[in-house]
Symmetry: C2
Subunit: 306 residues, 2 copies
């Protein structure tokens, strides 16, 4: 049985764009329950400016308030050295850096060129050197850019190389706005796996156009075993109002578990947490298993007259 | 480029369970537009008792009212010889028979044993013999039953054989309540293709638990090239309120077209039709491409200051 690693991003990628600020204590309680659910990695929060993302203004309180478990990796997104300092002060296991493969998207997202992003990452890597905090490098818009369209796969490989040169121990290929198609995922993942067979690669999919789980299947087929997902399918894309967000953690775990993959996460706990999440954010979430039930939730057999 | 055939079921599988009766003229106009969209087959309606399914009480008017195109197959669901007579009177190209692989589901759905269903199908086949009307045999709950759970694959093959013996020219494997997993689809389709390499096989998926398009990918990989889908993702399952319905036609065509498959259907026409469908049924539909836009719908590049 192939082990597939589930990495939760709801409290970062999901909460950051909610209308409602989820109270700090509720965030901490949710994160503690996620830690208890068998999730392999949790992107807890983002050490960005509170002005840029007010919903995550409690990053320190959250990181310091959660009960950390030995076998869970607690990662945080950071945009600059100031973020690295904050993550280090909170003893994050890992920091996640993000640059877009698309120049236009990078400038739109972080107001700098991709080169300047990587120059800043070098400073971050220097700062973190010797601290024991791991670096993961995320490449946003890997499978397509909502402004530029198609992305050159060679540029993806170049930027992955740039991350590795500055000491990243893992790479995330992110389909930021849900543009990846299954064959594209397969093709690029094979190239990445051929070049760096032992590199921990994460795939980060959005289900914007319904292809999220199909893309996971193709990623697994190409040998990738780490997947970001968001409880309830929280998250989304500012350019596609009404569109669904990240692939849904419990829907992903449900599919993989019933396919016979070895996932550590406890499906029933995740389903309960996702229902609870709806009360935290104040709206329905796009996850489907919480509505339909698991495949194994059978209905009582009707009585028949003879 | 592999040709994939798209078969529309919204006006039957979708409309049958809507709260609102879609007026006959609106049905006819929608079907005419679907005919013009390049869809390969349309399941127009169901010749069942108007008491059983009031929403389809206008089956004759609809079948006689539409403009039929040479290269589209117009099929209708029929439950018995009376249905066959009605379909024949309307000169349907094909009738679609439905039995469940699960005894319990068949009794729940059509109030008879599977054996009795097939005895009735024999009468239908005899009646239709020489009329030139083709028979397609659908196996409901092929991938799982909401009452019985797992389904024996040998039983699926037996019942497919039973359909072929009475003269069916095609078989549909239907995942009636969205229980199929991608590896299961692959495995069963390979068995069916090994046994009947030249048989036109259709896969009918529901997206109840989010796996619909992933299942399509695995079906294609196993050599199946015909897929039922419902405009807007209309349809659903009475046992899973709030769950999504059939896989969505325009989301399916969107994925396949961007993967490079040869689909005859016109994606832009389907997207427009799906938006129109929302006004016909009076609620949002689950389709995602109508919300998010196509992958190729790029946003204007923002202007940057130097």
């Amino acid at each position: 049985m192939t082990r597939i690693y589930i990495q939760e991003v709801a409290t970062r990628d999901g909460f950051q764009m909610e209308d409602r600020f989820v109270p700090t204590d509720d965030k901490i309680a949710l994160l503690d329950q996620l830690s208890d659910s068998g999730i392999d990695k949790i992107e807890v929060t983002s050490f960005v400016s509170p002005k840029a993302i007010p919903n995550l203004r409690d990053a320190e309180e959250v990181m310091n308030g959660i009960k950390r478990k030995e076998d869970v990796i607690y990662t945080t997104l950071i945009p600059n050295v100031r973020g690295a300092e904050r993550a280090a002060a909170c003893q994050a296991d890992e920091v996640n850096l993000v640059a877009s493969v698309s120049e236009t998207h990078n400038r739109k997202n972080v107001r700098r060129t991709v080169d300047r992003s990587f120059a800043s990452f070098k400073e971050i890597a220097d700062y973190l050197s010797g601290t024991g905090i791991a670096i993961n490098g995320t490449l946003a818009t890997t499978f397509g850019c909502p402004f530029e369209g198609a992305i050159d796969e060679n540029r993806v490989l170049e930027l992955a190389e740039a991350y590795l040169e500055l000491g990243a121990v893992g790479i995330t290929l992110a389909d930021t706005t849900g543009m990846a198609t299954p064959n594209q995922v397969h093709g690029l993942c094979e190239k990445v796996r051929d070049r760096w067979p032992d590199l921990p690669v994460t795939l980060h999919f959005h289900n914007t156009r319904g292809m999220g789980l199909a893309n996971v299947i193709e990623g697994i087929r190409a040998g990738v075993s780490r997947y970001d997902a968001s409880l309830g399918g929280l998250g989304g894309c500012p350019f596609a109002p009404g569109a669904t967000g990240n692939i849904c953690t419990e829907d992903l775990v449900h599919m993989l578990a019933f396919m016979g993959y070895d996932v550590n996460a406890d499906l029933d706990k995740l389903i309960n947490l996702s229902k609870h999440l709806e009360t935290l954010v104040g709206h329905e979430v796009p996850g489907q298993v919480i509505k339909a039930g698991k495949i194994s939730d059978l209905h009582e057999q009707p009585a028949f007259s003879k």
